[in-house]
């Protein structure tokens, strides 16, 4: 069975030790996804598997067999994704290294909120989730930014969320 990456079927590697991250970057030259810590601590390697945000550094590529992977290249395939545009407009990055992970994570995060999923800072677990800046901070805490572009990142995400709600 193949791994479908941004719509293209790819054979899983023969060596099960290869992470999804290394498969994409080193063997498929899909370098949009970044490698930061390689141990689950930074979020730079975030991609979507079957629409859910996960860390590609801790996912063995063989575990993605039969699944659909979307990377930043996939999100931006038909021109800039609304989140990419918003990151540009709101200074959502400085060096840009964390940005692909931030944008993949944010796109899934907005879906999670739309599906009513709570976060640790959601006070009323019974009520539908509402996106506040505090909520964005908590829900995006798995994506570190060494440049400290967080305020711009939150502005960009809030802008897209407000557009979607309008």
């Amino acid at each position: 069975m193949a791994i479908t990456i941004n719509g293209t079927p790819v054979d899983p590697p023969a060596d099960p030790r290869v992470s999804l991250l290394d498969l994409m970057r080193d063997r498929l030259h899909l370098t949009g996804t970044k490698v930061g810590c390689n141990q689950g601590a930074c979020g730079a390697c975030t991609v979507l598997i079957d629409g859910q945000r996960v860390l590609s550094c801790l996912t063995l590529a063989v575990q993605a067999e039969g699944r659909t992977v979307t990377t930043i290249e996939g999100l931006g395939a038909d021109g800039l994704h609304p989140l990419q545009q918003a990151f540009l407009e709101h200074d959502g990055f400085q060096c840009g290294y964390c940005t692909p992970g931030q944008i993949c994570a944010a796109s899934a995060m907005l879906e999670e909120v739309a599906a009513g999923m709570p976060s640790y800072v959601t006070r009323d677990l019974a009520a539908p989730a509402r996106l506040t800046r505090e909520e964005v901070r908590e829900r995006m805490s798995g994506n570190l930014c060494r440049c400290g572009a967080h305020n711009g990142i939150i502005d960009a995400i809030m802008a897209v969320a407000e557009e979607q709600a309008a």
């Binding site: 996960v54 801790l58 063995l60 999670e112 019974a126």
Partner: protein, 328 residues
């Protein structure tokens, strides 16, 4: 990483058969195991992917909720039955790791995640009785901010890092396991072990046994329960101290209390002493402080984690006060 084979278990019986083979390890989301393989701490020859094990979250005839071992942490936290009936469990899971990791992590893998003791993870440079029995413990006399203050031993002072398991300990959850010799269930509070002189033996799971489900019994106090985690940054960090608690107050007296602490011991720490101290008391600050004192009376902190004793007492009293405000 040493070379490894990979296969998927199609069913629980398949997983049990493969789990019993020497050198085989079960693979959940891989968020802990893959990392430890990369660090050279774990060296399985074959990985048996058990993410295909049932992960349904369902109500049983007696009102218990049964969570399949394959359930992802994020799915448990967001499930309407868990949010409404066991909010402390939703909050505990949501307090752990990041959204990405919770989407990957399974219920079974969460219970069996290994300690975050830095010396344990440093296979090349540190002595560790858990990783290499009999080699010594570099944490003792070393960096102990994240280490135990209760139930530790001269062999190991590591803590269990799971937030989810702390809530499960307070909720009297049961762990259903199965092996070649059949199936059994044990209380979560008896599932993890204290280190004693065998810190390498972390749970009561026998070699070859597989976790198949977690069962939450019906609970009167759980619908108004809470989980609070104190850590070095506001999110995406392991607990210094955490508290899961629920109370039932009847006629102005505490008739039931369930409390567990995280970040303080080698296992999720059920606060039996605090619970006993609260029984029949009026729910006020003095009673909460006395209960916290009773629980922490036996604490044996290290120079690097003395602060945790006070932190645990204050957090426990604060969570209990918060529960009463909610019920007022």
């Amino acid at each position: 990483m040493t070379p490894v084979q990979y296969r998927r278990a199609d069913s629980a019986s398949d997983a049990i058969r493969l789990a019993g083979t020497a050198g085989h390890r079960l693979l959940g989301g891989g968020t802990n195991l893959v990392d430890l393989m990369r660090k050279g701490v774990e060296r399985p020859d074959t990985l048996v992917d058990v993410t295909g094990l049932p992960g349904a979250i369902e109500e049983a005839a007696d009102g218990s909720i049964v969570i399949g071992a394959g359930a992802r942490n994020s799915a448990i936290a967001a499930h309407p039955l868990i949010r409404s009936r066991y909010p402390m469990l939703s909050r505990a899971i949501l307090a752990g790791a990041s959204a990405q990791i919770r989407n990957m992590a399974t219920a079974g893998g969460n219970l069996l995640q290994r300690t975050r003791c830095v010396y344990f993870a440093d296979a090349a440079g540190s002595r560790c009785n858990k990783r290499a029995p009999g080699s010594g413990c570099d944490a003792i006399g070393g960096f102990t901010r994240y280490h135990a203050i209760l139930g530790a031993s001269p062999a190991c002072i590591a803590t269990h890092p799971s937030d989810m398991a702390v809530a499960l300990a307070a909720l009297d959850a049961r762990v259903h396991v199965a092996g070649a010799d059949g199936a059994r269930a044990l209380p979560l509070t008896d599932f993890h072990r204290l280190p004693g002189d065998r810190p390498d033996l972390e749970t009561e799971l026998a070699p070859g046994e597989v976790i198949v489900a977690i069962e939450l019994p019906p609970s009167r106090l759980a619908p108004r329960s809470d989980y609070r985690k104190v850590r070095d940054r506001a999110s995406y960090a392991f607990a210094l101290v955490s508290v899961a608690a629920g109370l039932v107050i009847e006629d102005g007296r505490i008739s039931e209390a369930r409390i567990a602490l995280g970040g303080v011991a080698h296992k999720p720490w059920r606060a039996w002493r605090a619970e006993a101290a609260l029984q029949g008391e009026a729910p006020n600050e003095a009673a909460f402080v006395a209960a916290a004192e009773a629980e922490l009376a036996g604490a044996e902190p290290r120079p690097g984690n003395m602060f945790k004793v006070t932190l645990a007492k204050r957090t426990l009293a604060a969570v209990l006060s918060g529960l009463c405000e909610d019920q007022a």
